[in-house]
């Protein structure tokens, strides 16, 4: 009997059409646009000026406060401008645009591909991870060093590496597990040391049998790491659901995973930690799945941060007139983008192109009180009720009914037979109640 979380969950069509495409390196674009806010927290502080020369790996914006992250140049060249550009939401955000000239790297970075296990054990690993600007690469982009800093009085007992990739279409973590298995294991060992835990579990859903097999084989050479195959169910990749599935511990409402002794990091993050600690390489590139049924060549690409989305789509064969929606991230939780010039950021795990049939929402009808949204909610909430509260602006009732616990997985909207925009309203309630709570302090 395979493990999974108990409450709720849905089974969206998997559509992992790019699962067999090996990771390819995307050629360098002419310019890159690097936003200074690619993480949850305070935007970074810009360190460069117009016309400055930068190399690959040069620090161009530094961490501004504890919950913030360093940002490094992903290309070598000249800083063209520092001004506001469109971001994923269409609003303008500050970004650094760099014109690419050659591909010159900072000398301190080890560019060789050979596998190394040894590193200077005297260094502060968490400090090193913060310097490299690593954030959660699953999509939430929470600065990794913050998660790894265990608050006083709490103790980490288990490190969970998230290889679930429960979003339909996306395969970037899957390919990374197949192709960089040893690097991920070493990265995991480094994280274990940083957290001072002796146990690590890598959770993988059993629709990725090759990855489970490969990592189980590799894990034998590393102490304390085990691979846990999981039953397929969305949203198993959500932190709290994954902890429940693997350890059977439940994170209390409003609390962080450390409350039950768990720290969760993504597969991509473990790989980035390996590169940062062993190869001294900051986070300047990531694997992005470019996929969609209408694309000629769905691919998994190693992309420099700041590359325009258009470049990725061109590489995958370009989009045709059938494409109606381009999503940054997965189709369940990702964001539709209104402009293809927006750059790939640290949190971009995939670019999904949806056709007319998949992309359009269906006509909205009245609630028929079937309670499917209640039965699929992995957090045990009542989405129909929270939506009604939001529509009527009953914020205190929404707060009482735990709107803040919503993980925005979208299972409710996905399952609603009346196609009601449940998540849209729950999210509105969550952001408004969040503001009210912050103002109270």
């Amino acid at each position: 009997m395979l493990k999974t979380f108990k409450m709720g969950g849905v089974h969206p069509p998997e559509n992992k059409i790019s699962a067999n495409s090996p990771i390819e390196v995307l050629p360098l674009p002419k310019t890159v646009t690097i936003p200074i806010s690619q993480h949850i927290g305070v935007p970074s502080q810009v360190l460069v000026q117009k016309n400055d020369k930068v190399k690959v790996g040069t620090l161009i914006a530094k961490q501004n406060g504890f919950v913030s992250a360093n940002i490094h140049s992903s290309v070598s060249g000249t800083v063209q401008k520092i001004e506001e550009v469109f971001d994923t939401s269409g609003y303008r955000r500050m970004a650094i645009t760099i014109a690419v000239e050659g591909d010159e790297w900072e000398e301190s970075i080890d560019r060789s591909t050979d596998l190394k296990k040894d590193y200077d054990t005297s260094i502060d690993i968490i400090q090193k991870i913060a310097e490299a600007g690593i954030v959660g690469l699953g999509g939430a982009t929470f600065p990794a060093h913050v998660k790894l800093t265990v608050p006083q009085g709490k103790k980490a007992e288990i490190l969970i590496i998230n290889g679930v990739e429960c979003e339909p279409y996306l395969t970037s973590d899957h390919r990374l597990m197949l192709e960089r298995d040893n690097e991920i294991m070493i990265g995991t060992s480094i994280l274990m040391k940083a957290l001072n835990v002796s146990e690590a579990a890598i959770g993988i859903e059993n629709n990725k049998l090759d990855a489970i097999k490969k990592l189980t084989e590799t894990a034998k050479n590393y102490q304390g790491i085990k691979v846990v195959p999981l039953k397929v169910k969305y949203p198993q990749g959500a932190e709290k659901q994954l902890i429940k599935a693997i350890t059977n511990r439940e994170v209390p409402s409003g609390k962080l995973p450390i409350e039950v002794g768990a720290v969760v990091q993504n597969i991509g993050t473990a790989f980035a930690v390996y590169e940062a600690v062993i190869k001294n390489k900051p986070l300047i590139e990531r694997v992005v799945t470019v996929t969609g049924k209408s694309l000629e060549k769905p691919s998994n690409l190693l992309v420099r941060i700041g590359t325009p989305v258009q470049k990725l789509l061109d590489y995958a064969g370009g989009i045709d007139e059938n494409a109606t929606k381009v999503i940054s991230g997965g189709p369940m939780m990702g964001k539709a983008i209104s402009n293809l010039d927006i750059p790939v950021t640290k949190g971009t795990s995939g670019i999904v192109v949806l056709s007319k049939k998949e992309g359009y929402r269906k006509e909205q009808n009245n609630c028929i009180r079937c309670a499917r949204c209640v039965s699929v909610c992995p957090m045990g909430l009542e989405p129909y009720l929270l939506m009604a509260y939001s529509e009527r602006q009953m914020w205190s009732e929404a707060e009482k009914d735990k709107v803040m616990d919503c993980i925005e997985c979208g299972s409710c909207s996905f399952t609603c037979p009346s196609n009601r925009p449940l998540l849209d309203y729950v999210r509105l309630g969550k952001s408004t109640v969040g503001k009210i709570i912050r103002n109270r302090k």
């Binding site: 269409g90 209104s338 999210r427 509105l428 952001s431």
Partner: protein, 289 residues
């Protein structure tokens, strides 16, 4: 038998008298004094409970009115001057006439003026639109047209014009309670002086982007060029964050700014049509919209 009947009647009467006495003293002891004028004032108020005065409903406002020594600072926007003078009569005070206000929509990004660059299929709600993305156009400041303000209006003074995609404010019904101002997530709606003969001039744009970006998104965007500010003889216009603002307390409705605006971002309402010959008599012409 008759004795039992008699006894129970006497007992009941005795209990009744004792209870009445207790209740009487309790009512005396715990009595909460309420000014009878509160009820009188409340009867005069429009009982719309719109909250436009800043108090929780008409009862709350009535309490505040009775408590206040000078009611000239308080105003019922829904009822206007007539209600306030009635209130003043009840309280035996005099009230200064306040100038009537009205809500104006500071966005003219109609379907024609603003190019639609994407389609939003999520819930048609401005607050959700604001939190999700820039909207169906490239303007990050303009009206969504999903009608949060229409829902907020308790006086039926707003509706969405399907040909322009923008809300329209009905001058006869708007009482300037400010509910729409609070409902708009982009702070587009403003309460301004209604003006003589309902004549008003205002900048119908709140786009803080630089001129080129604003103009690209919308044909009638304020580009912050400052021509109007230079032209204005009354120093009523200020430019802040690339957008002009007309102070309605200083504006003398001379319409010079409207003429110089290169993007037609300044709206004039209810003025008689312009004459080619400036000396022509205009007082006889009225505009009935």
């Amino acid at each position: 038998m008759s004795q039992i009947v008699l006894l129970s009647i006497i007992t009941l009467c005795a209990i009744g008298v004792i209870a009445a006495v207790m209740l009487y003293y309790a009512a005396k002891k715990f009595q909460v004094y309420e000014d009878p004028r509160i009820d009188e004032v409340e009867a005069v108020l429009p009982s719309a409970n719109c909250g436009g005065c800043g108090y929780p409903g008409c009862r709350g406002f009535a309490e505040a009115l009775v408590k206040a020594d000078d009611i000239s600072e308080l105003n019922c926007p829904a009822g206007g001057a007539s209600v306030m003078s009635a209130v003043a009569k009840v309280l035996g005070q005099e009230v200064k006439a306040t100038e009537p206000m009205i809500a104006v929509l500071r966005c003219n990004g109609t379907l024609e003026h603003r190019r639609r660059t994407s389609t939003f299929q999520g819930a048609k709600n401005c607050a959700i639109g604001q939190s999700v993305y820039i909207g169906e156009t490239d303007c990050a400041y303009g009206c969504f047209g999903y009608g949060d303000c229409v829902d907020a209006c308790k006086f039926g003074a707003m509706h969405i014009d399907q040909t322009t995609g923008l809300p329209v404010i009905d001058e006869d019904n708007c009482v300037a309670c400010g509910a729409c101002v609070k409902a708009c997530p982009r702070n587009i709606i403003e309460l301004r002086k209604k003006g003589p003969k309902s004549r008003r001039i205002y900048v119908s744009c709140v786009n803080c982007d630089k001129g080129a970006i604003a103009k690209k998104a919308c044909a009638v965007a304020c580009i912050g060029c400052g021509k109007c500010a230079k032209e204005c003889p009354h120093e009523a216009i200020t430019i802040q964050n690339n957008v002009a603002y007309i102070d309605f307390n200083k504006c003398k409705l001379c319409r010079k700014c409207v003429e110089v605006c290169p993007t037609n971002a300044i709206t004039e309402l209810n003025f008689p049509p312009r004459k080619e010959n400036k000396n022509a008599e205009t007082s006889g012409v009225t505009n009935e919209n």
